[in-house]
Symmetry: C2
Subunit: 446 residues, 2 copies
């Protein structure tokens, strides 16, 4: 029996919160823990808390479930804070996208959501310094790379960023015809930009099998492909990146726009050529499909909540999710040492990057904390062009955010590869700052 308190900020996402519930219910070593659900949306909070309570009952798990709309209450006495909050939801992003497109940025330009997320993350990490200075902050909401770098530089809070993109390595294995359970791999980089540096099947180097697949089977795979609009992991773009940069991109690395690889995203036609017949995850079709999936899920949760006769465990089967959050908490609490894919300050793990840049690398997690594993250098041009560009984008973003200087904000937009003129940058910036939900940003940037 532990008396660990795990607080979830932004717990209104039932999908995410119930994943954690599955894991925490099944962890023997976390029996007796308190799980505190916190969200500013009381309606969704009630649903998640209600479903979680029923689920726990169905599993006869022994947890203390509480809910609150107050961050302060969630942080009080917390041992772990999992921050999955998304400020403003997806609708603001759609409004911003329209503004971006009006100014010549196909599919828009990331803006308010980015800064709002940074503000939220930093304020949670700062509050934790006061309220629960010994607690771990597990950052799940994006941007993990920028946010974790910001929080670890600006606060003393212990931060681990998590993502599930590295599971893409198993998808690569399965597409090229390997049994994923017999595959081991290493995929370091920065969050959403990770690369297969080692790939083994039954302990043997399996990179030659990727090469063989590309040579003999890729064309047929692309011709007959009939997957989800979101699936671009084994697309022409992925193979092209591998060709130029000498390592295979993993997970959503390939579908990054517009940081590096802008050239696959130049327009709708180009995206259809490189990703899939729909244009991939970031195309209008792909993104609408994604949002529709989210919205259907919310409807299903509402129904499940209103219908107590249906067991919650029929929707969320009581087996471990593949998320790392709860296993990592267990490792830290009970010294159950294991290796995870973590986002932590570099400290020499990835050669060629500053120690205070948060990298995504294997980390040994135990009672001692998180220790990044040294993975050495990536190929030179991958470091230079791809990761170098990601780091530069992140640094320019943080510089704009922290300096609060409008010139730095303008500079960030000028730097964007898709910006064509100074006037365009000025205009899109002013129009985005003029949106009602960006009023605070208009005051932030002087």
């Amino acid at each position: 029996m532990t008396d660990v308190k795990i607080s979830i900020i932004g717990a209104g996402s039932a999908q995410f919160s119930m994943s954690l519930m599955r894991d925490v219910c099944l962890k023997e070593g976390l029996k007796g823990s308190t799980v505190c659900f916190m969200d500013v949306d009381k309606g969704r909070l009630d649903i998640v808390h209600g479903l979680a309570t029923r689920f726990m009952g169905e599993l006869k798990a022994n947890l203390n479930l509480v809910k609150t709309v107050e961050r302060e209450e969630a942080l009080k006495d917390a041992d772990f804070v999992i921050n999955t909050a998304l400020v403003g939801g997806h609708s603001n992003a759609e409004t911003e996208r329209e503004v971006g497109e009006k100014h010549g940025y196909p599919r828009g330009i990331g803006f308010g959501g980015y800064f709002h997320q940074l503000k939220l993350m930093l304020s949670v990490a700062r509050d934790m310094e006061d309220t629960c200075p010994d607690a771990w902050l597990i950052q799940a909401g994006n941007p993990v790379f920028d946010g974790c770098t910001l929080m670890t530089r600006e606060t003393k809070t212990k931060v681990i960023g998590l993502c599930h993109g590295h599971h893409g390595a198993y998808h690569i294995a399965s597409v090229i015809g390997l049994d994923p359970s017999k595959v081991t791999f290493q995929a370091p980089g920065v969050n959403h930009c990770i690369w297969l540096t080692d790939f083994r099947h039954n302990g043997e180097d399996a990179y030659p099998l990727i090469d063989e697949w590309i040579e003999k089977k890729a064309e047929e795979y692309w011709r007959t492909w009939d997957g989800s609009p979101l699936d671009g992991e084994m697309s022409r773009a992925a193979v092209n990146l591998y060709r130029i940069f000498e390592r295979f991109p993993v997970g959503d690395t390939v579908q990054q726009n517009p940081t590096f690889s802008w050239w696959y995203h130049a327009d709708d036609q180009t995206m259809k050529k490189w990703f899939n017949k729909y244009g991939g995850f970031l195309s209008k079709t792909g993104w609408d499909y994604y949002l529709e999936g989210l919205s259907k899920h919310i409807d299903r949760m509402n129904q499940l909540y209103k219908d107590p006769s249906t067991p919650v465990s029929s929707e969320f089967s009581p087996k471990a999710s593949n998320e790392q959050h709860i296993p990592i908490i267990d490792a830290l609490v009970n010294d159950n040492e294991a290796k995870y894919q973590v986002n932590v300050p570099n400290r020499g793990a990835l050669t060629g990057f500053a120690d205070d840049v948060v990298v995504e690398v294997p980390g040994i997690v135990s009672g001692r904390g998180v220790q990044p594993v040294h993975v050495g250098p990536l190929p030179k041009r991958l470091t230079l062009q791809i990761l170098g560009t990601c780091v530069q984008r992140m640094e320019l973003g943080l510089e704009a955010f922290l300096s609060q200087d409008k010139e730095a904000l303008l500079n960030m937009i000028l730097w964007n590869h898709r910006t064509r003129s100074y006037e365009q940058a000025e205009k899109v910036m002013e129009d985005l700052l003029a949106l009602p939900f960006n009023e605070d940003l208009k005051a932030h940037f002087r």
Copy 2:
């Protein structure tokens, strides 16, 4: 009397060689030195050697002047090698410019000239390792930044890169109404990208005087400006860079295209707005004016050569030039310690850059050699965006050159801010490689 041998590679440029002659003739401590002029163009070599011989006679200087078309002979027993060579001259660049424009790059995209210069520089530095391993290589030909980084990484030859761009600080002083002789300054960065970090008049901080000039006089200066098409040093672009990046750009820093500040160069109209009514140095008008100046100078040299009755010293007045080459040689030979503006591996002088990146910083030159002076960090966004982008461009160029991999070459073009599509990058690359004078590059990139 010394027995120092100074060899000039690419000595056919009379303007440059005669500047050195003026300085070496006047340096007491270099009396008796051998100056060896080397150029593959025998015609121009004869002219320079002839003019230099007459000039020495007129000044009654005591030097041993020799000429050769063989690099081996120039390097043999050399103590100093000044490399000012430009492979292929300017006409190839004009042909490449046309190809670039055809593919949507206004004013073209740097290509063959860049790689030919790197090849030449590296081969000179390598030959020196064998022929004159103790000699200093003074690199005057561009690209100084990329070439010096390449040579210092790949060879043991001692390299100093020189440029006169930092004199622009005196131009700033004179435009804002100060006496340049009462000004001191510091302008570190990388070559062609240097920034006024300290600016004093009579020992007092003179930055407020720049601010005052901008506030009260700049608009009138721009409205009534009537200088050379090449002059953009105090242009709207320079003031805009200062506004965004918090330090004033010095010399040709402001007219760099397309590495950073591509936004001032988007098209002819944009250049006219930001630089001057002609469009600045890199506009068609500016560049044609520059080439015409060079060509007129060559004609004048030819005439002077054919007319022994005119004293050479009537064209090249026998007073010190403002070039640093000969004073630095004097400092090294005779331990005449002084501070110069040098391009050398960083070794901690400029914070935030690797030790093996060649930076332009003050250096103490003496019998001990060259010791970079620590200047610390530049403002964060200047380091990140401007210098970071310069370093990334340089590193991608060297990676393409050294890997000899066509994918790395393509990647360098994809990275260029003005590239709009993958196909555009492929096509411009293939067309440039297909030019007759780039045949060796076609073989170089596999």
